[in-house]
């Protein structure tokens, strides 16, 4: 079951990096309710990270912990989607990124909650409840802002155009995914595409936003082969304490 570690790492790196990105909004969101919602979503994602990277660390052995994996790996060891390391830019980008991710994350967790591997199923069953709130909120915001003012519409369209090429990576499987699917541990990434497209297109139509006419996909995040420069900058901030003072504790 050599693919289980990579699965836990990919899931945990997605939630860690996106959770950190959202936490960058803390105290700066355009409205108090949104500030709280972003911080709560970040908190859920970091909590899920503890479970996924906890599992990855358990599989890795050698006394490793989730903290070791989060704080002591460099860019090339991360396996998150390129989408989640995209910078916040503005509230439209942040909302659109969350929406595109949530609509994948929710069915992914739902499928994982029926995994043949009990530890995966348990984590996913816990996380899917939280992801349901995330998906509901981001879809509501996409519709409200897309079909909002001329300004909010233009910003949302610009964000969608910029982020769309980062969505394809969610649905491109590799040997690890094939092994996970054959053992009933995780769904094949390709199998989630149709449901995602249908949901995303429905909300985007309600939001009066145009879906970009391109299926070009940036890739290299979940394989670790080609992360964007943004991940390095994020890690220098997230990991600075452990880099400056290794083994520091409270």
């Amino acid at each position: 079951m050599s693919a289980l570690g990579p699965l836990a790492t990919r899931m945990g790196d997605n939630t860690l990096i996106l959770g950190h990105r959202l936490s960058e909004w803390c105290g700066q969101a355009p409205a108090l309710e949104e500030d709280i919602a972003l911080a709560n979503t970040a908190l859920d994602l970091i909590g899920q990270t503890q479970m996924w990277l906890g599992l990855a660390a358990e599989i890795a052995g050698e006394g490793k912990t989730a903290d070791d994996l989060a704080m002591r790996r460099d860019v090339w060891d991360f396996r998150n989607l390129l989408l989640v390391e995209r910078p916040n830019v503005d509230f439209a980008y942040t909302t659109t990124r969350q929406f595109l991710f949530d609509r994948w994350h929710l069915p992914m967790l739902d499928a994982l909650s029926r995994s043949s591997e009990p530890r995966v199923a348990a984590i996913a069953a816990k996380a899917v409840k939280e992801a349901t709130y995330h998906a509901e909120r981001s879809a509501e915001l996409v519709v409200a802002l897309g079909d909002g003012t001329a300004e909010s519409h233009d910003r949302m369209q610009a964000a969608l155009d910029a982020l769309w090429p980062y969505t394809g990576e969610m649905f491109i499987g590799d040997d690890i995914d094939a092994e996970l699917a054959s053992e009933g541990i995780a769904p094949a990434p390709e199998s989630l595409r149709d449901g995602w497209e249908e949901a995303v297109r429905t909300f985007l139509a309600d939001a009066t936003l145009s879906v970009p006419d391109s299926d070009f996909a940036h890739r290299g995040g979940r394989s670790g082969a080609r992360h964007s420069e943004h991940l390095g900058h994020l890690l220098t901030q997230m990991q600075w304490l452990q880099r400056a003072y290794p083994d520091a504790t409270w």
């Binding site: 709280i36 709560n40 908190l43 909590g47 899920q48 503890q50 479970m51 984590i123 816990k126």
Partner: protein, 176 residues
């Protein structure tokens, strides 16, 4: 000038003095242990206890060691580690050696809130969870003309609502 530290809010995270004290011999049965745990408040909503919240999943007592399985409400809820600490402290005070285990499966649900817990929430001004997906009535005035402000609130488990009759905002404990 050194200012005196503010008095801790009774039952809150900063209040260690009001922790229930246990006099007499250590508890001999699991029921007695549960009675002690029912005096341990939730650090973020101190009117309800950890047993009211339904997060104590299992209690096993053997040779002076007490194993307690707790389940987190939300996976990132920062109160979870404080709760473990508070449970440990309460059991040590009672003369037991505590071992706390975190159990995520099956995942916590608001169905595990006790009836007492729901009544305490309501009395505190937090509308208890309802299968309808929103509060049944305003905890202040009892009206049912309500509007959701945000699905997220001051803790992961709460949403913000407003009563359109009395115009007061209030917290709703989300169905989960």
């Amino acid at each position: 000038m050194v200012r005196p530290a503010p008095a801790p809010v009774p039952g809150s995270m900063s209040d260690l003095s009001g922790r229930p004290r246990h006099d007499g011999p250590p508890p001999a049965t699991e029921e007695e242990v549960r009675a002690i745990l029912s005096g341990v408040p939730d650090p973020e909503i101190p009117v309800i206890s950890v047993t009211d919240l339904g997060i104590v999943r299992d209690v096993a007592l053997r040779d002076g060691t007490c194993r307690v399985a707790i389940t987190p409400t939300y996976s990132g809820c920062p109160a979870t580690s404080v709760i473990s600490f508070a449970i440990e402290a309460a059991l040590r005070d009672a003369g037991l050696e505590p071992v706390i285990e975190t159990r995520i499966d099956p995942p916590w649900t608001t169905d595990w809130l006790t009836e007492t817990g729901r009544a305490k929430l309501l009395a505190y001004g937090i509308a208890p969870p309802s299968p309808a997906g929103g509060p049944e009535a305003c905890p202040q005035c009892g009206a049912s003309d309500l509007t959701r402000i945000s699905n997220h609130g001051s803790t992961p488990c709460k949403a913000q609502w407003r009563c359109d009759a009395c115009q007061e905002p209030f917290n709703y404990f989300k169905c989960h």
